[in-house]
Symmetry: C2
Subunit: 214 residues, 2 copies
């Protein structure tokens, strides 16, 4: 398709598409002559993802570029390709220093991971920014004086594992590793808010069932 059609089908103006092309967020089309390029379905798909990252996720252009660099990195194995793309997304702040709360949080998170036998992420440990952010959040809870121990988290971890298995089943409906990585990033930005809303709606439903609606 030509630029005009790509713009119409994506709802992104031609000026913005040209900007994304210049910034390297979108790979160039196939040049058919000096002034015309031809674009494929994969350009449309990539354009949707770029819009999701920038307009919905409010992610800076430089960060989006880094995320997409990992999506396109064919030298990576599948786990690291998904991981690297997701890890490049903006992450919550990390602990400033290793105080007593961080030490306690690290111990509780490790006990939790051992209990549910998540051996791979336990081994990765601090390498994963997600692991570091879990430690930070648990440390905040401890610092605020909320009672806290690994056992209480076990059933939640098990349920999240079921959710994650569904996520990956869904990714597997996409053929190439590049498409899988693209969908993983789109899901992190677009689907997490859906999941959070479903969680809160479920609380309302459960509360109404237990205590009545008013």
């Amino acid at each position: 398709m030509r630029l005009a059609e790509l713009s119409e089908r994506s709802g992104v103006s031609t000026a913005t598409i040209k900007y994304y092309l210049r910034e390297g967020l979108l790979p160039p089309g196939r040049q058919v002559n000096a002034t015309t390029a031809e674009y494929e379905e994969e350009h449309l798909r990539r354009l949707r993802l770029v819009r999701a990252l920038i307009q919905v996720g409010r992610i800076p252009v430089a960060t989006a570029k880094e995320v997409l660099g990992h999506v396109d990195d064919e030298s990576l194995g599948r786990t690291m390709r998904l991981g690297a793309a997701l890890w490049a997304l903006p992450q919550p702040p990390e602990p400033a220093e290793d105080d007593a709360a961080v030490t306690a949080a690290r111990r509780e998170v490790d006990r939790l991971l051992a209990e549910v036998r998540w051996d791979s992420v336990r081994e990765l440990g601090d390498l994963s920014p997600v692991h570091r952010s879990l430690v930070t959040t648990v440390a905040t809870l401890i610092r605020l004086g909320y009672d806290w121990n690994a056992e209480e988290l076990v059933p939640y971890a098990r349920l999240m594992r079921e959710v994650a298995a569904r996520d990956l089943d869904f990714l597997e409906t996409h053929e190439s590793d590049a498409e899988k990585a693209e969908m993983a990033v789109a899901a992190a930005v677009l689907f997490e808010p859906v999941l959070r809303a479903l969680h809160r709606l479920a609380q309302e439903e459960e509360s109404a069932r237990r205590y009545g609606i008013v």
Copy 2:
């Protein structure tokens, strides 16, 4: 306990506690003489929640005051007391206009709620800001051209219902309705990031199990 002990046990400076008292975020202590007031365990608990809202949730003082107003409102039934407190927390933006994507999203969300028989939230509908935010997010997905239908969300909704049942089981370990509402608010601000981190860690574990770690 005296102000100095309340400060020490909470880790909040006496100046900040006095500010919270002036702003009505913390109920006054029992005056024992002209210059001294006595504080109870419930003051400590409330102080932790105020810190969680303001320092961790970065919620404006006026909003925190509104949230706590609902927590303390004894005229409300339990569902509405929990609901009103949570609804007063900052919510994602709402749809600007009812375009075709919003109409389609509204229909898909309604089909989903019918399918999983969440009759109470279906009845509440647009009254709940959580319901409105789910519609907004689904509309964004549709607008970006991501394939979308209610059936795919059904298993996720069922898992979130199990998570919500655990949440309420936990709330029920707290005696009074005021404590329950306090914990519900604390969990929305402090526990949701834990759940999100667990979800992402579970994806990493599942990916490593399926595709190997590198």
